[in-house]
């Protein structure tokens, strides 16, 4: 079999962070090759490199055996690569035919566009691959599934031999998904090479020939889909990356801090993201939520931090020591003794242009002890910043001058952790993805601090896509699947099974897929 795409020791660095490191991959011609992994695992970066949107920092790429180095998508298209983005690149005001030929009109600048000829070609392709479409319809009037067909026809029109699909089923209904898979198979049968990015494991097993699993910027394995199981893939996606293990002394939980009863979340469009979710967290314990991303984790955190999107319908209750958290603003929730470390650090937890000191204040800037008149008490702030930087081993030269963005991911996260764990009168910590985008060196410090916080009596809700992290830190573990807790491991079970982490991971893997 010929190799359509071969990557050899490919790496991509953003600043000091490796989005892809040492990727070697071969995609055979005429196969569907799935690329799975959590958000942030590096799938998108890798496909952007193949499609010419990013240049690799090092490594080589071969298309049909020829070494290539694209500097723009135009060159990639020229080599027969096409991509269907998650958000379609279509112009709703133009017709199907006009959209498909856009950028490839095959006529001179002032010549008439050969609409008729193109339409015939498109209809030809459409028939050959079973993509029924009216070439004169306006794209804006089509359903999402039909728009996706337009994107596929666009690739066919350009004679793309290698097609990349980025999360193609995220926006499709189950019926549309079925049809889409049929199309993928017929594309493959006619010799096209397909790279499919997804994190839905059912789909991978249903349609792919080969599966490569990515995590933390690396490919952890490539196996034939026929011999893979969901549990195995899930475990590869979320497990086995942390080289370090923190010592986790037995917890002695106290009174109940957070109790969630039959919580439900429905989006404005009526999609159910969380339903009948119930759990309790006691003082001095870490409740770990294990699960594949997109099973309601984000929505749960949004509800608990008062930031559910407008129009979302919430039912059930979430009580902090008997007082409801639902319907309050983040500022009110923070005053009740809750602290939040959000999933997306750079977008939600810090102001990257502010200095390290200013970021240590962020969200806590209303606390009296930092105030003087209408401004901040520089002395108090500096003393606090110095103490935090010392306690959490943040490496930074001058906290009151260095902008946060100059720090490494790990140091940034330590700043956030320091700020949130040292809140006065904190009783509950919502902790999401504590070590995402964090260098190995910082992980140990961060884990130690989390255990220390737990031992000091803080109740912690831990959401992580790293199964090993959940196992290493948690006192109890809840397995989240399709918006509710499907199975819960008690403290005794977790403490017993922590020593045989591999087997435990497999067991959890069964409950989250």
């Amino acid at each position: 079999m010929a190799i359509a795409v071969r990557l050899s020791a490919l790496s991509k660095k953003f600043g000091s962070f490796f989005a892809n490191s040492n990727i070697s991959l071969s995609v055979e011609k005429g196969t569907i090759h799935a690329l799975v992994g959590e958000n942030g695992a590096g799938k998108s970066t890798l496909t952007k490199i193949i499609y010419g949107m990013h240049r690799p920092t090092s490594g080589e790429m071969f298309i049909d055996g020829k070494a290539v180095c694209f500097s723009s998508p135009r060159e990639a298209i020229h080599s027969g690569i096409g991509m269907v983005h998650q958000h379609f690149m279509l112009i709703p005001e133009l017709s199907v035919t006009e959209n498909i030929i856009l950028g490839n009109e095959q006529c001179g600048l002032f010549q008439r566009i050969p609409l008729k000829k193109s339409k015939a070609l498109i209809l030809n392709d459409a028939e050959a691959y079973g993509l029924a479409l009216d070439p004169d319809a306006l794209v804006g009037s089509l359903s999402i599934g039909e728009q996706q067909r337009v994107e596929i026809l666009k690739l066919l029109f350009r004679r793309a031999a290698i097609m990349i699909f980025d999360e193609p089923t995220a926006v499709l209904t189950p019926l549309e998904t079925e049809r889409f898979f049929a199309t993928l198979r017929s594309l493959r049968d006619k010799g096209k090479t397909i790279i499919l990015i997804t994190h839905k494991l059912d789909e991978v097993l249903a349609v792919a020939d080969m599966v490569s699993v990515m995590r933390r910027g690396e490919i952890v394995g490539t196996i034939p889909a026929a011999s893979a199981t969901k549990g195995e893939l899930a475990e590869m996606m979320v497990g086995r990356s942390l080289l370090l293990r923190v010592t986790n002394p037995p917890a002695s939980p106290g009174e109940t801090i957070l109790s969630i009863n039959q919580l439900g979340f429905r989006t404005k469009k009526g999609l159910e993201r969380v339903h009948d979710l119930s759990l309790t967290i006691r003082a001095g314990e870490i409740y770990g939520i294990a699960g594949v991303e997109g099973n309601g984790q984000s929505e749960l955190l949004q509800m608990l931090w008062g930031l559910a999107p407008e129009g979302a319908i919430i039912c059930g209750e979430a009580l902090l020591r008997g007082r409801s958290l639902i319907g309050r603003s983040p500022a009110e929730i923070a005053r009740m003794g809750v602290s939040h470390i959000p999933e997306d650090r750079l977008r939600h937890a810090v102001i990257s242009n502010y200095t390290v000191s200013e970021n240590l204040l962020f969200g806590r800037h209303r606390e009296r002890s930092f105030h003087q008149g209408t401004g901040f008490n520089t002395g108090a702030v500096n003393r606090y910043a110095e103490k935090m930087i010392g306690d959490y081993a943040v490496s930074c030269s001058s906290p009151d001058r260095q902008p946060l963005k100059a720090l490494s991911g790990g140091n940034q996260q330590k700043v956030v952790l320091a700020r949130e764990l040292s809140r006065p009168a904190i009783s509950l910590l919502l902790l999401a993805q504590p070590t995402r985008g964090v260098d190995i060196g910082s992980i140990e410090t961060i884990h130690q601090k989390i255990i220390e916080a737990r031992t000091s009596g803080i109740a912690i809700l831990l959401v992580s896509s790293e199964l090993e992290e959940i196992i290493a830190l948690s006192t109890r573990i809840g397995c989240l699947y399709k918006g509710s807790i499907r199975h819960e491991f008690s403290q005794e079970e977790v403490e017993l099974k922590r020593d045989s982490a591999d087997a435990f991971q497999k067991e959890i893997g069964l409950h989250i897929t």
Binding site: I351, F362, G363
Partner: protein, 341 residues
């Protein structure tokens, strides 16, 4: 190169390039550029009167630039300083004209100033509410409100308040006049420079403290830099949109007070003459930093008045070209700087 020095380098480079281009234009128009610049320098800094004129123009520019700069820090582009200035000017003139003559200066001046600030703030808040409540983009909102302000003041002037056969309102009471430097100390003889200049410098300092040393400014800039993070940090972004617009509009109102209470003493059709738009240029050149606005306003004040004085040799439109060119270059160089940095 570090961040601080590029921040200074970009405006300087822009001004320099704009001057080079304008030198070329003057040369092509058949005049000696050196002579033109010399005459301009003499007309502005060479005489007490000229310096006073520059000071007067600089004062209005400081206020309107602050009106643009504060919303700019929250990532709002206030194109409406002109409308806010007009509403403020009309309010100041009407209040000043309606106050009985027996009200003493310590009461009438603040009253007139406050009505100007209230009118400017109200007009800006209008755009703020449209943005926060109805999602109307503030650029479109403020531009449209400029037209509406022009319509309202124009209508009220011609149909209700203009002195017959003129295009201006009745003069304000003497007690509401902000004293000129000339009357107080004899400085800047006969020029319109008045005590508002000191107020402008004071307000710029105040804005500097508000933005960079207060908790209010800390929240405000956070909203401008990363609105999503601000929400997670428990900051009310809508509130900051409104206050930034409101305080900005009040500053534009102060600019109106400088013109009406300090110089003209009545409201006249077209008296603001687009200075509110020049304020955008001043603020951009200064990177929306209140203290740099002082310098930037001085530069534009020199160009505006200097351009007038040499009108006999070279059309003053040339200086409009320099002003606009400077701003385009600032924006282009900043983009370039970001790409290289």
């Amino acid at each position: 190169m570090n961040r601080k020095s590029t921040r200074l380098l970009i405006p300087l480079l822009s001004i320099l390039s704009a001057l080079v281009v304008s030198t070329l234009i003057i040369f092509m128009a058949g005049r000696d550029p050196l002579m033109i610049f010399q005459k301009m320098f003499h007309a502005t800094f060479g005489s007490a009167y000229g310096a006073g004129q520059v000071l007067f123009r600089m004062t209005t520019l400081i206020f309107v630039a602050l009106a643009v700069a504060l919303p700019f820090q929250v990532r709002l582009f206030n194109i409406g300083a002109e409308g806010q200035l007009q509403m403020g000017a009309f309010a100041a003139a009407m209040t000043g004209a309606m106050l009985p003559a027996w009200v003493p200066s310590p009461a009438s001046i603040p009253l007139c100033i406050m009505s100007a600030m209230a009118a400017g703030a109200g007009w800006a808040l209008f755009a703020g509410v449209l943005k926060v409540r109805f999602g109307v983009n503030e650029v479109i909102g403020t531009i449209m409100l400029n037209f509406i302000a022009q319509g309202i003041t124009g209508y009220l002037l011609t149909w209700h308040f203009a002195i017959p056969s003129t295009v201006h309102t009745a003069p304000i009471t003497d007690a509401a006049v902000i004293p000129a430097f000339d009357t107080l100390t004899g400085w800047f003889a006969n020029s319109p420079a008045n005590l508002s200049t000191l107020l402008a410098i004071g307000i710029a300092l105040l804005f500097r403290i508000l933005l960079f040393s207060s908790r209010f400014g800390y929240e405000m800039r956070a909203v401008g830099l990363q609105p999503d993070a601000a929400r997670y940090g428990g900051i009310n972004a809508g509130m900051h949109t409104l206050t930034a617009m409101g305080i900005g509009g009040a500053a534009a109102g102060l600019g109106a007070a400088n013109i009406v209470l300090g110089y003209r003493h009545f409201y006249e059709a077209g008296m603001t003459g687009g200075v509110g738009f020049a304020g955008i240029a001043v603020a951009l050149l200064a990177g929306a930093h209140p203290l740099w606005i002082l310098l930037s306003a001085l530069f534009f004040g020199v160009l505006e008045y200097g351009g007038l004085t040499i009108n006999a040799w070279i059309p003053k439109d040339i200086f409009m070209i320099i002003e606009a060119l400077t701003i385009i270059l600032v924006i282009a160089f900043s983009a370039l700087g970001r790409r290289l940095g």
